[in-house]
């Protein structure tokens, strides 16, 4: 970055909803009218991650961090910058425990304890300006690939890095690329799965909004590696800002020669289009997503079936990866596989991005190396539980994940350990619950989501999730029957084993884990007609 005095105004969805677009406009006119002789630069950036404290403003090069900025604060911000006066104290972040102001973001525990790779530039560069991305080393990986590397080199580098798909399932990325490269056919597709549908998850959105070029670059490199000519980004229509920024980025990349025919004067041609999904959760599943692009009803294909890498979009070999997976690729190519594989655990390399929400002091987007413990994430980065309440559980992996209790706080978070504990990595949602949260109600909430989003194709998922939701609903209303817990377990086993796709196979996870770790709460509801957390209205009465 240059050393010019720059005001970075966060334009992530969280801050935008707090009015940061208006703040940017006001700052802009203010600077133009009143301070045009001063060398003050203004820049829109993507999400800084600390969304709870938004709208956020960062002053570079010092790294001053202003939180919860309102329109009336702008004048004092600008004035404080002229002649390097004192920062605006009332806008500084304060440690919730000590109440001490922390002026620079690198000193804030929330940032200090993270290790940001994919999110590195999310809050620093203007996502609508390709030159910003290039300035921080963007598209160097692509240049390197096209100049010095064969497709096989690229694939072996990705394989060596140990990168695993960050959409949730954690399939080794390099092996997927290799399978797609080896699949027969001249026409191949690369699809970026940006159908982030978990309630409360916004990592993919933030990456697309904050650093869209990193995703494009990853896709172009993937296209080069597997021999594809066309890329598609399947993005939810509910993400208008991401769609807009991706469109701008694609235009700019085409203009700069990174996309289109003969990329960087090579014989490699590749172009990317955007496909907006209609918001069905199940369309995040690869075969349902492909069908959705084909204009069909988004329903997963039952096994046994050909892999998407062999028969994907329009029956052509198709590489489908998550946003974050693609965003990792330029970093791996640029810094080398070893740089990447140094981070993380034995089986899960690199970093993981989480949306940290719920009953936690610091809500927001975080990035940590794989294998970081839940305790570190929740207490060190997240700042613990607010209002002095007791930690009860953390839900990982969105609606398909499980709830883990306090004695599992030292579990290192990676693909395999979470699976062992009965939960999943999923797309990276982390919902923290405190003593006031009723675990039956939590399970009910997630089952309500899955039963609504089941595609309806297979009977265990369609009827099973609804049946489980109805039972849980009855329990939270005090209408549970003694045999219900056993029934829920029976249904869960059947649904897990018999469902066609991941939605059904994982839908019982919240129920299974809550019964496993918090069975007493279920029993209290059913037998004593009592909600221990005091959250449920039993027989219509709040305790």
């Amino acid at each position: 970055m240059n050393d010019k005095v720059t005001i970075l105004v966060c334009q992530g969805t969280g801050c935008v909803s707090g009015g940061s677009e208006r703040i940017y406009e006001l700052l802009k006119s203010e600077i133009e009218e009143m301070y045009s002789e001063q060398e003050i630069y203004l820049k829109k950036t993507g999400c800084h991650g600390f969304c709870q404290q938004g709208p956020l403003i960062v002053i570079e090069p010092q790294g001053l961090f202003y939180t919860k900025v309102q329109e009336e604060d702008l004048k004092s911000i600008i004035e404080s910058m002229i002649g390097f006066k004192e920062p605006v104290h009332k806008l500084l972040y304060r440690d919730p425990q000590t109440g001490k102001a922390i002026p620079f973001y690198r000193d804030i525990p929330f940032y200090m304890k993270q290790e940001r790779a994919i999110l590195r530039y999310c809050g620093n560069i203007d996502p609508e300006e390709i030159l910003d991305y290039i300035e921080v080393g963007g598209y160097e990986a692509l240049k390197k690939v096209i100049k010095d590397m064969t497709p096989t080199d690229v694939i072996s580098e990705v394989k060596k890095s140990g990168l695993r798909g960050l959409g949730g399932a954690g399939f080794p990325t390099g092996r997927k690329w290799e399978a797609c490269r080896n699949a027969l056919g001249d026409i191949k597709y690369v699809i970026c799965n940006a159908d982030e549908g978990d309630p409360g998850a916004f990592q993919d959105r933030s990456v697309m909004e904050g650093n869209p070029h990193s995703v494009l670059e990853g896709m172009i490199i993937a296209g080069y590696a597997v021999g594809a000519q066309r890329g598609l980004i399947y993005v939810r229509a509910e993400y208008p800002l991401a769609v807009k920024r991706l469109k701008v980025a694609i235009e700019q990349a085409r203009y700069e020669g990174f996309l289109g025919d003969n990329i960087l004067d090579s014989s490699f041609s590749f172009d990317i289009d955007i496909f907006q999904g209609a918001g069905a959760f199940v369309c995040g599943e690869s075969t349902a997503l492909v069908r959705s692009i084909e204009g069909k009803r988004g329903m997963p294909k039952p096994m046994p079936r050909a892999r998407t890498t062999e028969e994907g979009l329009r029956n052509k070999p198709t590489l489908l990866n998550n946003v974050k997976t693609f965003a990792n690729v330029p970093l791996i190519i640029k810094n080398g596989a070893d740089w990447f594989s140094k981070k993380g655990t034995e089986t899960s390399k690199g970093t993981a991005v989480f949306s940290l929400t719920g009953k936690v002091v610091n809500c927001g987007l975080i990035e940590v190396p794989m294998g970081t413990t839940l305790r570190k994430i929740i207490f060190d980065i997240g700042g613990g539980i607010p209002d002095g309440k007791e930690f009860k559980a953390v839900q990982t992996g969105g609606p398909s994940g499980g709830c883990l209790p306090a004695d599992m706080l030292d579990l290192p978070v990676d693909f395999d350990s979470l699976k062992q504990a009965g939960s999943i990595m999923g797309s990276g949602g982390l919902v923290v619950m405190d003593e006031d949260t009723c675990m039956v109600d939590v399970a009910r909430y997630f089952l309500d989501f899955t039963q609504r989003e089941s595609c309806g194709q297979c009977i265990p998922c369609r009827l099973g999730t609804k049946q489980m939701f109805n039972i849980l609903d009855d329990i939270t209303k005090g209408k549970g029957k003694p045999e219900d817990i056993e029934l829920l377990l029976e249904l869960s086993e059947s649904i897990k084993s018999a469902s066609i796709c991941g939605l059904g196979k994982t839908a019982p996870n919240p129920v299974l884990t809550t019964i496993k770790y918090f069975r007493d709460e279920y029993e209290a509801h059913i037998n004593d007609k009592r909600c221990p957390a005091g959250a449920c209205r039993i027989n219509g009465v709040r305790p």
Binding site: Q451, G456, Q457, P460, L463, G464, K466, S494, S499
Partner: protein, 870 residues
């Protein structure tokens, strides 16, 4: 296909390589519960009930997993039960369990699964029940859709997509609200569903149920009497009534498929309007005679029941009095070959008259005329192999999906397997959507399109020269006539862009064998024979090509081959050919009239002029079919003695003097000749009510009363062997003829006063049997005329408005419906012929003598009082 051995539940099984575990198990009588599997469809793997355990511990869906050599499969382990039992219990909890009153009981797959798994109702009671009931869709006149019993196996959806090719239904909604819905979730009647009932027969539970469902006691094979396909059907009979109709799975034409008319349209046989006794007109003052409305009840009041002897004696008495030129006979397209053979023999031998024709003259006659002229009857394709072998399919006509649904299913199937499709239709249809090329000529200019394709293909040297040289004649003359059909000229005549035409020609000529289908839509013009001749010219470019004219009625071809043509003896031997005449005289041992007889229109004209004294009408409703209505009425009024022989009362009956009740197709034996020149035997499957006689026997009885020899038949078999004998001796040419064509437009040209072209679409009500089936009346929809949105704007027509359509010859009142599927400048009627016949120009095609009943110039005006249909 190789055989491999597997072990299912300790049982050694040899099975076909490539089959699935479920198929192998079912074939060896090992039952695995399943709901979404159907042998006719690709496996969906969605019900998750057919799970089996492999010896590696994996649980797989047996419907989608192929067998492998040495596979060990267990179908009923504890693990499987633990997974499957809750699913079945949930289905039951979610299913409207009213088995006692469900028509599917006993055949229900869910019942079978419950019994097989010994489902414990106490376990099911633990589950929560659905909170709401969805209303039954009873819009379709033939079946119900009950979502509360639906298990969402998707068999109906896949049937509609994979087999029927309509895609009228699909899954809609998510989660528990998922259901099978039409486009926009409208009632099924308002969708594009063609009511073929294929989904209904495949539904494993009681979600799709035929309205009038009774279990048959016996089932008998026969042939469908509706369109010219001649599908094989199984008639389910209980208490001497038809209670159920199924497609015959072994029949080569339909392989079990049926359409709405075949499946639901046979109850006319048991209709209240059936004739059960000979009738003679009561003597009444003349003034009362014509005051009748067309209500059939009233018609019956005009007559009194008499004995067969009285009726036949009266007929004989009348027939003895007239000269041979004063007799004419109309044969029936629904009668068997034997009936028709006897009918024409009666006219020729007993009455010494060749005045025998049929309602075929109104629809398919140009096709037959052109086929005979070119000598290509052997080129008729059949559905058994020719369609599946075809690399290119040409479909001419716009309503085949409705008029010949089984063919349309088969064509769509062939296209999905890779055959090229060229559609020639002036309006958008479901074929135009899937075709490689859609040629959209102005109605009535089709001949130019085919000639243009010939010209383009021959210019590109894509014709099969050796075949043409050795087996065809007249090629050079034909080639010269092609000079008038260059791309540019054809574009001006037909509106088809020349590039498209050339592309179509190339696709057609390079993808042989090709098969051409055409419907009677293009044979109802005054230039109709040219249309068909030009199709045949195109066909003859390659020796492997085949054609399938889509006859309107089931025995169209049989009637002609049996000799019910004024200018041809049986086996299509021309009367003009003296050799044929001598042959027939020898066979029948009599002298024949060698003057060709009158065609249908000429008969009516002559009758109007008082020259026909006795008209013998068998199984035809002339009032319903013939244009214009006034001519028929005047003619029939003028004829001194009208003999009607039919199974049902119809509108023409009011003009009869004597009515003879005949047996319907289910009540007699004989043969029909269907598409592909396929002769099919039918047997008597229903007992005849007393008082009915087969047509041939009635005619023979009259002949005997006239003292004519040669009508002493004891059985249908005897007649059939006589017919066969003729076909064996007939004289044949072996060279096919190319026909040079000079383009001729249809008779009606739009002008300032009549700026629009009026055409008609397929309508169920154009069939005399449909009048006795309320369901088909409902399906044919309300009477209306489709108009393009731009035309509607220009002529001030609103959607659903009452309008007057005026031609140079007459006018009708109807309602409008705006549709963008209709091209500008054209109106398409969804009206019965009877209503629109008065609009047409009373001209006939000079070659086939077929009247022009499908096109005329009109104007459309809104009726002043704007009345919207609710």
């Amino acid at each position: 296909m190789g055989k491999i051995s597997i072990i299912i539940d300790e049982q050694n099984i040899i099975t076909n390589e490539g089959s699935t575990i479920l198929e192998a198990a079912l074939a060896n009588k090992i039952y695995i519960p399943h709901l979404c599997y159907h042998p006719d469809l690709k496996p969906a793997g969605s019900c998750r009930l057919c799970l089996v355990e492999l010896d590696n511990g994996h649980v797989v869906t047996s419907c989608k997993t192929e067998v492998k050599e040495g596979m060990r499969i267990k179908t009923n382990t504890d693990l499987i039960d633990k997974i499957r039992r809750p699913i079945v219990e949930m289905i039951i909890a979610n299913h409207h369990m009213d088995c006692k009153n469900c028509p599917r009981k006993g055949q229900c797959q869910l019942q079978r699964i419950m019994a097989f798994m010994k489902i414990d109702k106490n376990r099911v009671r633990r589950l929560r029940l659905p909170d709401k009931e969805i209303p039954i869709d009873d819009s379709n006149p033939f079946f119900y859709r009950d979502h509360n019993k639906c298990v969402l196996c998707g068999i109906c959806v896949r049937t509609c997509h994979e087999i029927v090719g309509m895609g009228s239904i699909d899954f809609a909604g998510r989660g528990i609200s998922t259901k099978i819905a039409t486009f926009g979730d409208k009632p099924i009647l308002e969708s594009n569903c063609i009511s073929c009932g294929e989904c209904v027969v495949r539904c494993p539970v009681g979600a799709l149920i035929i309205r009038d469902f009774r279990r048959p006691v016996t089932e008998s094979k026969t042939v469908c009497p509706h369109c010219g396909l001649g599908c094989g059907i199984l008639i389910g009979i209980r208490d001497e009534q038809i209670v159920n109709v199924r497609g015959d799975l072994e029949h080569p034409v339909n392989k079990g498929l049926l359409c709405v008319r075949g499946r639901f349209g046979l109850s006319f046989v048991g209709s209240d309007d059936r004739l059960y006794s000979p009738l003679i007109r009561k003597k009444k003052p003349k003034s009362q005679r014509m005051k009748l409305s067309s209500e059939s009840d009233n018609i019956k009041d005009l007559f009194e029941e008499v004995s067969w002897d009285d009726a036949l004696d009266l007929i004989a008495k009348k027939l003895k009095k007239i000269k041979n030129s004063e007799f004419a006979m109309i044969a029936s397209l629904r009668c068997t070959n034997e009936d028709n053979y006897i009918a024409q023999k009666f006219a020729r031998v007993a009455m010494k008259s060749n005045n025998i024709d049929s309602a075929n003259r109104l629809s398919d006659s140009p096709s037959l005329t052109a086929i005979m002229e070119s000598g290509v009857i052997e080129r008729l394709g059949d559905l058994k192999n020719d369609l599946s072998d075809a690399k290119c399919i040409v479909v001419v006509g716009s309503d085949i999906t409705k008029s010949h649904p089984v063919i349309s299913m088969k064509i769509k199937n062939a296209v999905s397997k890779g055959a090229k499709l060229i559609t020639i239709s002036f309006k958008e249809t479901d074929f135009t959507l899937i075709s490689d090329i859609w040629l959209k000529p102005y109605p009535g200019t089709e001949a130019a399109v085919f000639m243009g394709m010939c010209s383009s293909a021959i210019d590109a040297n894509l014709h099969e020269e050796v075949f043409i040289k050795e087996s065809c004649q007249n090629f050079e003359e034909f080639r010269e006539s092609l000079d008038n059909f260059t791309g540019g000229r054809v574009e001006r005549l037909t509106g088809v862009p020349r590039e498209l035409l050339e592309e179509a020609a190339e696709i057609f000529a390079t993808n042989y064998p090709a098969i051409i289908f055409w419907s009677s839509e293009i044979t109802k013009y005054s230039n109709a024979t040219l249309n068909v001749s030009s199709i045949i010219n195109l066909l003859l470019l390659n020796s492997k090509n085949r054609m399938i004219p889509l006859w309107e009625k089931n025995n169209t071809l049989g009637l002609c081959i049996s000799g019910c043509l004024p200018d041809h003896y049986p086996s299509l031997q021309p009367i003009k050919d003296s050799l044929a005449g001598e042959l027939m005289e020898r066979l029948w041992d009599t002298n024949l009239n060698t003057e060709p007889g009158l065609a249908l229109y000429e008969i009516l004209e002559q009758a109007k002029g008082g020259k026909i004294k006795v008209l013998y009408i068998i199984g035809s409703d002339l009032i319903l079919k013939v244009a214009p209505y006034k001519l028929v009425r005047d003619a029939l009024k003028k004829v001194k003695f009208v003999i009607m022989q039919d199974i049902l009362i119809n509108d023409t009956s009011q003009f009869a003097h004597v009515i003879l009740p005949a047996t319907a197709f289910l009540e007699k034996a004989g043969t029909f000749t269907s598409i592909g020149n396929r002769e099919q035997r039918i047997e008597k499957v229903l007992n005849t009510r007393e008082g009915l006689l087969p047509d041939w026997r009635i005619i023979c009885d009259i002949a005997k009363r006239l003292g004519v020899e040669g009508f002493d038949y004891n059985s249908v078999k005897e007649i059939h062997s006589e017919l066969i004998a003729i076909s064996k001796t007939k004289y044949q040419t072996h060279k096919y003829r190319f026909i040079p064509i000079e383009f001729k437009a249809t008779s009606e040209v739009p002008d300032m006063d009549f700026p629009l072209i009026f055409t008609k679409g397929f309508n169920y009500m154009n069939d005399s049997t449909s009048h006795h089936l309320e369901g088909l009346r409902v399906l044919s929809g309300r009477e209306l005329i489709y108009i393009n949105p731009k035309d509607a704007m220009d002529f001030n027509i609103e959607d659903g408005q009452e309008v007057i359509v005026t031609s140079r010859w007459g006018k009708i009142n109807t309602w409008s419906e705006i549709s963008d599927k209709i091209p500008i400048g054209i109106l398409v009627a969804n009206l019965a012929d009877k209503k629109i016949n008065q609009l047409f120009n009373p001209v006939v095609d000079p070659i086939s003598k077929t009247p022009e009943t499908a096109i005329c110039a009109v104007r459309i005006d809104p009726l002043k009082k704007r009345r919207k249909i609710l």
